[in-house]
């Protein structure tokens, strides 16, 4: 690599990341000088940092030019900007739902917001990374703060054990990913995604190299909690503070998918014959196992945890229909993944926001706690029903658009695997409706236990999040062509 090129830094391209980094350090510093209940004021600082970063993303988008830094390792293009905008929106909502939860616990607020922003910094680096080294660093920057945040309720054994499990699976999968990465580097002699793709399409397929690509994909499989790497997910989700659970279920998972998109659609595209069928089997197992286990859950957070495992299965479907060299099909598969992730983000954070609101009154988080919510807090009940029905994939909500995108691309592929996948998506959608609608039935049909609990009051930040995301869930269905168009704009596939 040319030294001059490698040391050239485009600060404007890095501005959103720098804003988040600055906000995270500021939060850590300012918290030292605040005492008692005033520590909660670090939250608005973090929110402000996220908003500034979002402003920079918009400015970069208006600027339109493709920029790069660190010798093409860090690239800002439409794909990267789309994901950065998405991550920052998620960050905003996660911060809003954290506000009251953490100001009531009153511990580790500075640390929490610092770690959260650090993890989002890693996420924003992820879609810009065009080099395996950068991709690995971004992935770890998302994971390591996640380990700590999952164990932030230090006094609670469940939180600690969940974090421990998350940590052990996390470092194990990082080691596996790195081993695969080292072999890929050994065979191709380069670590850039484009370089790997060029070298792979030129050379012979070596069995060791094929195994290495699967190792790398397995490392990302952990991050997105695909079966059989999902064991950590339900326990970690249950033990972690609920805003952290929302973060793990949406943001960290989407970051894993962003990395997986770059690795599979760009670097390993010439070997799609090998990994696509494997991912197809993983997709079917993931959605089926997630949905069947969710059927029997009585704990609301565990139910949403298994539901998020199942959703990872749906997102994996477009990966399984990729064919080497078929640019039109691959582009459609790519945009289907984006549509699904954006839709999933909106509805799942909304669902967790309602869970946080209700958990204040009912710390047990049981599904039966939601009995009579329709009478006690009609607004929350309507929003929760919207999110659950959308997760189930019923029109007129955005979840339907997402399911349709995945379903169509599986049919479009026309292969046997594609048809099987489409059928699996359809069957699983029906299974998932059973447990989503069971919760909705508890909310609306069952009487509240005696003596009647007080209505749930979500407060301003949480109320805004729930209401806003409910509107988004409906509006994105109406504006589905817009969502499609944005996803099509942001497609990034191997140019070779």
């Amino acid at each position: 690599m040319d030294v001059d090129q490698a040391t050239q830094i485009d600060l404007f391209a890095l501005a959103p990341e720098l804003a988040v980094l600055g906000a995270s350090l500021l939060v850590l510093l300012i918290e030292l000088f605040l005492h008692g209940p005033r520590k909660r004021f670090v939250n608005p600082i973090a929110v402000l940092g996220v908003l500034v970063a979002f402003g920079f993303v918009v400015a970069l988008w208006l600027d339109g030019a493709q920029r790069s830094s660190f010798g093409q390792m860090f690239v800002v293009d439409d794909y990267a900007l789309a994901f950065k905008g998405f991550f920052l929106a998620v960050a905003l909502f996660v911060l809003l739902i954290s506000y009251r939860y953490f100001s009531e616990i009153r511990t580790f607020q500075g640390e929490y917001y610092f770690l959260m922003l650090a993890a989002f910094l890693g996420m924003m680096l992820m879609p810009s990374a065009r080099d395996l080294v950068m991709l690995f660093i971004a992935l770890e920057l998302v994971s390591v703060p996640g380990f700590i945040m999952a164990g932030l309720r230090k006094f609670d054994l469940r939180s600690n054990e969940g974090a421990m499990k998350f940590f052990l699976f996390g470092v194990l999968s990082a080691a596996v990913l790195l081993f695969g990465l080292s072999i890929v580097y050994g065979f191709t002699g380069t670590t850039t995604l484009e370089g790997v793709a060029a070298s792979l399409s030129a050379g012979e397929a070596n069995p060791l190299l094929l195994a290495a690509t699967l190792f790398v994909i397995a490392g990302f499989g952990f991050k997105v909690s695909a079966v059989p790497f999902h064991f950590w997910a339900p326990d970690t989700y249950e033990g972690a503070p609920i805003p952290v659970t929302a973060f793990l279920a949406v943001a960290s998972k989407a970051a894993g998918f962003a990395g997986l998109l770059q690795v599979t659609f760009v670097a390993f595209e010439p070997l799609a014959d090998v990994w696509a069928p494997v991912l197809g089997v993983v997709a079917i197992l993931t959605m089926t196992l997630g949905n069947l286990t969710a059927l029997t859950q009585t704990n609301m957070v565990r139910l949403l945890a298994y539901s998020s495992v199942a959703h990872a299965g749906y997102v994996l479907v477009p990966f399984a229909v990729v064919q080497p060299g078929d640019a039109a099909l691959n582009a459609d598969a790519f945009s289907a993944v984006l549509v699904y992730l954006f839709a999933y983000g909106a509805m799942n954070i909304g669902a967790f926001a309602v869970v946080i609101a209700v958990a204040r009154r009912h710390p047990g988080r049981r599904v039966s706690d939601y009995a009579g919510l329709g009478q006690r807090s009609p607004g929350l009940a309507v929003a929760l029903t919207t999110f659950l029905v959308s997760l189930g994939g019923i029109p007129p909500l955005v979840g339907f658009v997402a399911k349709l995108a995945v379903f169509f691309v599986a049919v479009e592929a026309g292969t046997t695997l594609g048809i099987v996948l489409a059928a699996a998506v359809a069957i699983n959608t029906v299974i998932s409706l059973v447990y989503y609608l069971r919760v909705a039935r508890v909310v609306w049909m069952e009487e509240a236990p005696e003596p009647e609990p007080e209505p749930v009051q979500p407060g301003l930040a949480l109320g805004f999040t729930v209401g806003g995301l409910a509107v988004v869930t409906v509006a994105l269905f109406v504006l589905a062509p817009l969502l499609w168009g944005a996803a099509d704009q942001a497609v990034l596939i191997a140019s070779g």
């Binding site: 395996l132 080294v133 690995f136 660093i137 770890e140 390591v144 380990f147 700590i148 164990g151 230090k154 006094f155 054994l157 469940r158 600690n160 054990e161 969940g162 974090a163 421990m164 499990k165 940590f167 052990l168 470092v171 194990l172 990082a174 080691a175 596996v176 790195l178 081993f179 990465l181 080292s182 072999i183 580097y185 050994g186 002699g189 380069t190 670590t191 339900p234 326990d235 249950e238 033990g239 859950q297 009585t298 704990n299 565990r302």
Partner: protein, 101 residues
């Protein structure tokens, strides 16, 4: 006289396998963690060997990143182990009771 590069790769693969088996069969969190470190170091060995074979520095640079990230993971992991020990007076991955639904 130099050792052929293939031997380094075989050694690295052996270390990686020992580490992987260790993680799967040992029950103490600390020993599992040490096995993961073994796997990460086998990755470093592989990277440096390949950097030598390919005659470029990318692999050696990546090895440095791996070392740094591994150190960060040690910090987080040991903190979690200490807290787990305080709450439970044991570092076994088994006997997890609180989380079984």
């Amino acid at each position: 006289m130099s050792v052929p590069a293939g031997y380094y790769l075989i050694l690295a693969a052996a270390l990686f396998s020992i580490g992987a088996v260790g993680v799967l069969i040992r029950r103490s969190v600390i020993v599992m963690f040490m096995c993961v470190e073994l796997m990460l170091n086998s990755v470093n060995l592989t990277l440096v060997t390949f950097a030598r074979i390919q005659a470029n520095l990318d692999g050696q640079v990546l090895a440095f990143f791996v070392i740094v990230v591994a150190a960060a993971e040690v910090v987080v992991g040991l903190a979690l182990v200490v807290n787990l020990f305080r709450l439970r007076a044991s570092t076994d991955a088994d006997g997890v009771g609180a989380l079984r639904a």
